[in-house]
Symmetry: D2
Amino acid sequence: MKTLNVGMIGYGFMGRAHSNAFRKVNNFFPLDRQIVLKAACGRDAAKTKSFADTWGYEAIECDWKKLINRDDIDLIDIAAPNNVHAEIAIAAAKAGKMVMCEKPLAMNADEAKTMVKAVEKAKVPNMVWYNYRRIPAVTLAKQLIDEGKLGKIFHYRAKFLQDWTISADVPQGGPGTWRLDVSVAGSGVTGDLLAHCIDTALWLNGGIDKVSAMTETFVKERKHALSGKTQKVGIDDASAFLARFSNGSLATFEATRYARGHKALYTFEINGENASIFWDLHDLHRLQYFDHRDAGYVRGWRSIHVSDGDHPYMKNWWVPGLQIGYEHSFVHQVADFVQGLSDGKPASPTFRDGLATDFVTDAVLKSAKTQKWENVKKA
Amino acid sequence: MKTLNVGMIGYGFMGRAHSNAFRKVNNFFPLDRQIVLKAACGRDAAKTKSFADTWGYEAIECDWKKLINRDDIDLIDIAAPNNVHAEIAIAAAKAGKMVMCEKPLAMNADEAKTMVKAVEKAKVPNMVWYNYRRIPAVTLAKQLIDEGKLGKIFHYRAKFLQDWTISADVPQGGPGTWRLDVSVAGSGVTGDLLAHCIDTALWLNGGIDKVSAMTETFVKERKHALSGKTQKVGIDDASAFLARFSNGSLATFEATRYARGHKALYTFEINGENASIFWDLHDLHRLQYFDHRDAGYVRGWRSIHVSDGDHPYMKNWWVPGLQIGYEHSFVHQVADFVQGLSDGKPASPTFRDGLATDFVTDAVLKSAKTQKWENVKKA
Amino acid sequence: MKTLNVGMIGYGFMGRAHSNAFRKVNNFFPLDRQIVLKAACGRDAAKTKSFADTWGYEAIECDWKKLINRDDIDLIDIAAPNNVHAEIAIAAAKAGKMVMCEKPLAMNADEAKTMVKAVEKAKVPNMVWYNYRRIPAVTLAKQLIDEGKLGKIFHYRAKFLQDWTISADVPQGGPGTWRLDVSVAGSGVTGDLLAHCIDTALWLNGGIDKVSAMTETFVKERKHALSGKTQKVGIDDASAFLARFSNGSLATFEATRYARGHKALYTFEINGENASIFWDLHDLHRLQYFDHRDAGYVRGWRSIHVSDGDHPYMKNWWVPGLQIGYEHSFVHQVADFVQGLSDGKPASPTFRDGLATDFVTDAVLKSAKTQKWENVKKA
Amino acid sequence: MKTLNVGMIGYGFMGRAHSNAFRKVNNFFPLDRQIVLKAACGRDAAKTKSFADTWGYEAIECDWKKLINRDDIDLIDIAAPNNVHAEIAIAAAKAGKMVMCEKPLAMNADEAKTMVKAVEKAKVPNMVWYNYRRIPAVTLAKQLIDEGKLGKIFHYRAKFLQDWTISADVPQGGPGTWRLDVSVAGSGVTGDLLAHCIDTALWLNGGIDKVSAMTETFVKERKHALSGKTQKVGIDDASAFLARFSNGSLATFEATRYARGHKALYTFEINGENASIFWDLHDLHRLQYFDHRDAGYVRGWRSIHVSDGDHPYMKNWWVPGLQIGYEHSFVHQVADFVQGLSDGKPASPTFRDGLATDFVTDAVLKSAKTQKWENVKKA
């Protein structure tokens, strides 16, 4: 069997999630390439070594440029903070490597465009880790929409609610909290959480034409974990927007880290002429489905336990009724990426798809500033 | 319009529930008789007067024999404790009155048989207040079963869980707690709660052949509210049994007043070859329905919000989506009773139906003593 | 006992709901006035007579001006379409009658202001039928907020989703569908559904400063039920807005009649620093409550079955665990109105409270046109 | 780091689940031994080879006796059908290997006793794969009980419902359906599903004194997958029993493969004096908890999303709110087994614990035959 040698950059939360996916995928999906965890890369040698040992990487690097230039690496996976995505991805593309990049693609759409240009010029396979598309229940939603089960779409609503930054004692910057440092993250919940909602929405419901948004920073100052100094918070703590899709449907989107009681409540609902769909990350193995074509007196929202062999990806796991979890969406993404290589059909979301989401988040942040409706550029 | 003059015996919880039903039914259901609240009867004149004033009864009586002998009374409603059901019902039947009787029909099946004999000999319309049959979701369950949607039945399971007697300080006897005094109630949860489960089960799933039961009295002694003396508790605090139905299905039944967290959690589930049904009194306006004939990948338990015009009884209430509550089941029962008079087709459950439930509760209590499987007599 | 003589205008859905409330309230709530259903008023004599007979009104009137001028009427209840609220209410106030008016108060805020002026000048008790405040679970939400359980509020989100006008065959105008005729209804879902959401929100979370809205009319033309002619639809089928409350919290609001699968799904959620609350009209007897002060490992959303004696209004109904329904909110409103008369403390929402909601709906409709953020006037 | 060399027997559903656990555990749990997948063993060389390649076993064996005699194997894992558990386990113990055995431990308690004797005589670490103890929500339930949060226990109820054998076309015997062949499985749902319920119950609620049971075989004959002949079905399709625990609590247990709509609905509920607990395998990441000590008006069942760092095992996985699935319970079991080796404190359930469950299932099957209450032997 051919091998696919992975070079991983980053060893945080996402470094673990991606590594787990690369390590598991051949156990569950019949692919024609064997993934090899070739090298892990991080600035701190000791931590990188420990990470590499835990996950079985054959070697470590402390300079990502060296990693990129190694001949024995086929694919560079960027699991580092947002502010280094572009530089690494462009260099990797130039070096002829396949590139997988954690979301959001870039600090903003302008930067993302340079990344798209680089991978398309180099003709290297590329992908952004919008993993939620591949939760089986979400993939099933896509399937139902593609089959036309919903009919004309009237409404889309999505939200992503967390509560981990309510305390003013949570610092900004540094490991674990770099998402609160605007110079590293680019934005707050807009790029972190709404980006997920938007990627799914564009996939399920097509393009967004325009938005009207508001953002808020509830805690104005936080200590910086690296400098120790209290400084102004530059990110958005909460972000909500109204939107009109190209297909004529109306939408509301909202994300926040101040919704007490929710750890990672990403939900979306789609209302079509004939049927509706609802999904919730906190019970990610279920899809709620209402079909108006059922006889009136037995119509009801169906709670589909998406764990059966005829559900997306599920025949590769256990037996009906036994649920999988969050991490499996990453496994599916690797499986599809590798299958795409074999088929010569790149799996989405590509960098170009990731740019489309960045165009929306840019418009959201702009609208929040101008307090006007803003049009969304198209990728 | 003809009138139907009601004489009500009892002014407790059930006196109120029945009165409310009699008073409301003509507002919502097009019947050919106007209910008139003619007289309320209780031993305590002042309390009876207050009750009569609240509900608009034209008069009061303090002796139920007088009430029964009044010419202007068409129907005697027995909302008094279990130990007086038989005497009153038999006398009322002899006086040619229609009789509605709170459940359970009697202290035991032998007593119930005398009541059945009396009303059938007198040919007076008669009914037992097993109100849960007429929660719209439960009636819908019956409709689905009658339509054959479930196919061959394999399993029936029901439970009725409460938690109001966990404290040893709850007394037995007296108003509000006579259900803990075996001399008044006949039995504990078996006659009080399981009787509801059994009535519904016999209606939905046919006869029960045999049972194996266990009962328990967790708090062995309680103060008597009337005497003030601590005395042995004679009722069953908890009761559970295995059963085999005549149709070949297997069942489990359970009732208790020691299930912390449940106020009145009556649930039943029926599993058929093709479909299953689940209902829960705590969300009484919903019926859960699973239909295996739905396409596999969109199969799921449907949560039917039983509030639409094509659901049983619901076109008489508000608009779709707006739920009704517990009390409405009594209104439906009166509506059906009166409609039965008009149609010449007595509405069930009749006293004979009530006897069938008493045969089961008798077998349950016997099995708990003998520790053997006991056959159930047929009404 | 003193009497309170009611004159009812209208015999549709709301005429029934209000009549039921007036007729039941003395059965369940100890008040010092006995409600008397004195006269029902409608233009169609036969229909009015039938309605009066069903509900026990002593007499009928076919001209509301006559009703208002009867000396034996204490309270005028306006259950007629929106476009006649103002004229009737103002005349009733001038005639010294108490006035209860179905929501929304008026066709717009300007009209509503004249009504507020009239009742305040005449010093007559007045109330708007925003009934959802008095669903016990909603009243409990208010209680928890007033107790300070939530702490600083970050987010409010509400939606009211229906699906009954998706078919283009639903007419506009006429009985049952006048809500689709802008000349009678004033607006579409903004005044009909969002008004409910807004009234609750103002009550629970204080004033709204500004909004950014969008509206849509999905079906552009409908036949008029009275004229039989197809004509342009003037109402909004869907309406959504972002809002900023005076207390610094952010909000999203949405209403539509195009959300397949929802009959009357009014939900709201409030996220505070210490606790959060969620409520859903489709399970109106439950309140979801999350308290961050619970020990971390046993923290969870509590599903409170609001049916116990220590819950608002519930001790007047049945026993713990037995739920009430939609109609009971109207009974509570009458009970509080009458109690307010006795206490000399007018119950809310008064006409002035109703005006506050109209200021918001006016701003919403304006913003949808101007495509700008609009400030909300204060009542 | 020390290694722990695993020899796996069986390559079916459980062979995969165990292999996944062995392969993942060092990625997530800091242990002092590195698991090595040394050899996989099965009778079919080609299939065993394919399995070994998929999972990364270094070698294969086709004779389990050879595997057991290899010096480089530390631990024998038995993932083969029930009828070979005893022979293999006893031989492995004699060879001085640690033994992990899939549940139920044996065909019956007599056989299980010989296995207990063997491992205890050989003093080899041993464990039965009752994996559900280590679903974090179930482990949390144990923790709450051990902390005394529930108080005196009144009720225990458990059920395990499936629907995969309703069709008479499902064969017995052979791969995938050997659980329907009594000569291989020992019993039907009693040993397969109820055994899980019983193991959890003994762990959470202590010993069971006596049981009254019923079983049923709905489909009397099925084709045998290997012989192709239609023959009598010897297993129980459904099994239910009443039980009394040593602590005075009452219980109902039920398992079936004929409950349409349920794939693997294992649920249990425990009602204590002060608190209650409910868990459901179909939403395995949640624990429902009701605490009567909460203030009355905000009491409710808490839906605990068991995904936070202070929940059992969860700090080793992702971030709060992100759920894990079924397979992770096996990972936890390996982690605890290895940690037990390091600590010198064997992790449960040991073979002796597995025997305790077999005593209960024996009593259940006996009671179903004798139609009497049967006492349970103690391990």
